[in-house]
Amino acid sequence: MSLDTSIDGNGVVNININGRFDFNLYQEFRAAYKQVENPTGTTFLIDMSGTDYMDSSALGMLLLLRERAGGDKSNISITGCNSEIKKIFSISNFERLFDIS
């Protein structure tokens, strides 16, 4: 379970989540997006290709990020989801809130 963050030259924030994405990552996840000074309008790319499992508190964390990044105007893409994770997103209908692939 780990989380890496990097910000590229265009100001795009990349967050890689490995292992389990659950409540134990709360502090790190929050720290990852709090380091962005002007989160509204910032593009966030969340790479979940290394994520094995996700629980509902992870959904909650994504909602927090979304709110911070401008709510409906936010620009957050989630990539690399395995089928289990896609299923969780789809049951929760989070495709409406995030760009998920």
Binding site: S57, L59, G60, M61, L63, S90, I91, S92, L97
Partner: protein
């Protein structure tokens, strides 16, 4: 109430280093030989310690009780009471604290030395000894003491927090149990599995009979555990029960719950839920599903009739504007069964951490031979799968059988109990400036009307009538405003600005509302009368205006189209609307 924080031992020294604050450290020397005491006293004082002295074991205990030393240097052979016995007594007196006892003895016999440790001593040194070695050993023991004290403080704090959390969980559990009203789950057409862990993890299961028969069932799954989920569950259960009792649809209930949770819950906390309407009047089952795994409809012919997928976001995620309350509807017949479950069922694991999964659930349906025991098939399969593994996941499963004999058990709501309803009643409200200024009285008034059985389905129209008449009475009556203002966009804005200003400075005026109901064959007659403190208006001029101006008076026209009768009084400050309804 919080548990009291009384288990933390008082630490009389906080040492970052043994040499720091050494004067605050008290060392007790116990020796019957005065020269030995003098030597040690001189040496320790020189190093900066505070020194206490005793001549035998008995005195040592007395000094210990009075002075509470941090470390004791103990001789073995002494008159009155020897070092072994004194050590045993002192060690039994220290309780949770760690007071190192260090034996200094001239004996070299191994057994005698071993007895030093046996009786509770922490170390020993044989005389004659090197001053440096003694000092090092004292430092070592004080270091151990410091670690011990720190650990003990941390332990006490952990105990405190653990008690605190346990207490919180207890409260959460009690709140949950009351909210869930488990008695309502004891209905003949419902089977359920709700683990205590599930309860704690934020699963709620609510069942409520509808006023005209049938029922609403809701399965909710909160993110967040314990108390935070219990707090969210309170408004959910209240809205669910009270709106169901008043005859609202599951779409209205879903909209209301979402609005409430979106307003109250912090971002990141939400409630995945599935609400089922068992409609025995029209033989239908409707489902609103937001975030809960698919609900499965299974027929008496052992066929999966319909899958109700989650098509919505969970409650509390989006505002009312973006919330969608579409439902999925199925024709139902006796013997149909609906299965709802939380993700805990699919994610339940066996001893090796393997998940139960959808395939095993599908298999339960495929292998079922008698739909009457379908529920037992699933719960047995789950139990066998889990084996001896302790349940650590929230698992909720519910079976709802479609049963068209399902009438409400509330006698007052039974279909043939209409005679018990008030045959004729009337109620009046007088709204003064305070209420007109700050409140919207319409929901309360509508609420009174909806106490009448049969008016539920008319509530939209009733609301329109009440609301249009109210704004007319308020704006044109009490506030004396001219509706011809509203003929252009600018006038429209000006109109509402003026309305706002006049409302803010309003200090007299009233609106009286009188509602009268009487039953007629197959329904009732409801009269709604408004009287306001305004000057009234010229009925003739209204007729004129109606011919010449298409912009205003739309509200009244609308009310007229909804009612059988609509009449102003002579002075124009009162109006009466008559509404006939059929059940």
């Amino acid at each position: 109430m919080l548990p009291e924080k009384n288990n933390i031992p008082e630490s009389d020294e906080v040492l970052d280093d043994v040499s720091v604050d050494i004067a605050r450290l008290k060392i007790l020397i116990v020796d019957d030989e005065v020269t030995n005491r003098m030597v040690l006293n001189a040496m320790l004082k020189k190093d900066g310690f505070t020194v206490l002295m005793a001549e035998n074991g008995k005195q040592a205990i007395e000094v210990f009780n009075k002075e509470n030393p941090d470390l004791i240097l103990m001789d073995v052979m002494m008159p009155v009471m020897d070092g072994y016995e004194a050590t045993r007594s002192i060690k039994s007196l220290v309780g949770d604290r760690f007071v190192p006892i260090f034996f200094l003895t001239a004996m070299t016999d191994e057994k005698a030395l071993a007895k030093c440790i046996e009786s509770g001593g922490d170390d020993f040194l044989t005389k004659p000894f090197s001053r440096t070695i003694l000092r090092s050993k004292i430092d070592a023991l004080l270091r151990v003491k410091k670690i011990y004290t720190t650990l003990q403080e941390q332990h006490a704090e952990l105990v405190y927090h653990q008690q605190y959390i346990e207490r919180e969980h207890e409260i959460a559990e009690r709140i949950f149990k009351r909210i869930i009203r488990s008695d309502t789950l004891n209905v003949s057409n419902i089977k359920y599995l709700l683990s205590p862990v599930a309860l704690f993890n934020g699963d709620i299961l609510l069942v409520s009979p509808k006023p005209k028969g049938g029922q609403h069932i809701m399965l909710g799954d909160f993110t967040g555990h314990g108390l935070s989920a219990a707090i969210g569950a309170m408004p959910v259960a209240e809205i669910f029960y009270s709106m169901t009792e008043k005859g609202y649809s599951i779409q209205d209930i879903a909209t209301e719950i979402n609005a409430k949770l979106h307003k109250t819950l912090p971002t990141g906390l939400f409630c995945a839920a599935c609400i089922v309407d068992v409609d025995i009047e029209n033989n239908k089952i409707s489902v609103w599903n937001g975030g809960v795994p698919e609900a499965i409809a299974y027929s008496a012919k052992k066929e999966i009739k319909k899958i109700f997928k989650s098509i919505h976001l969970p409650f509390g995620v989006v505002s009312s504007n973006s919330f969608k309350n579409d439902i999925q509807i199925m024709d139902a017949e006796p013997g149909d069964r609906i299965y709802l479950y939380s993700d805990g069922l699919i994610e339940a694991t066996d001893e090796n951490g393997v998940m139960f999964g959808e395939d095993r659930l599908d298999l339960c349906f495929a292998n079922n031979t008698d739909p009457a025991v379908m529920f037992e098939d699933i719960s047995n399969s789950l139990n066998n799968f889990r084996g001896n593994k302790k349940q650590d996941d929230d698992t909720t499963l519910i079976e709802v059988s479609f049963d068209n004999n399902l009438v409400s058990n509330k006698s007052s709501y039974k279909k043939n109990s209409d005679v018990k309803e008030p045959c004729k009643w009337s109620v009046s409200f007088e709204l003064g400036p305070e209420i007109l200024k700050d409140m919207d009285p319409l929901p309360a008034i509508l609420h009174v009307l909806l106490e009448v059985q049969g008016l539920y389905s008319h509530r939209g129209r009733l609301y329109t009538i009440l609301a249009e008449l109210y704004s007319n009475a308020l704006e044109h009556g009490v506030l004396g405003m001219d509706s011809t203002l509203k003929t252009s966009p600018e006038g429209f804005a000006e109109y509402y600005e003026t309305r706002q200003k006049r409302l803010e400075t309003l200090d007299n005026g009233f609106i009286r509302i009188n509602l009268t109901h009487e039953p007629v064959d197959g329904g009732g007659k409801l009269s709604i009368e408004y009287l306001d403190s305004g000057k009234g208006f010229d009925f003739g001029s209204y007729q004129e205006q109606k011919k010449s101006n298409v912009f205003s008076g739309r509200g009244i026209a609308l009310v007229k189209s909804l009612c059988s009768e609509l009449k102003y009084n002579e002075s124009g400050n009162g109006i009466k609307a008559v509404y006939f309804w059929e059940s």
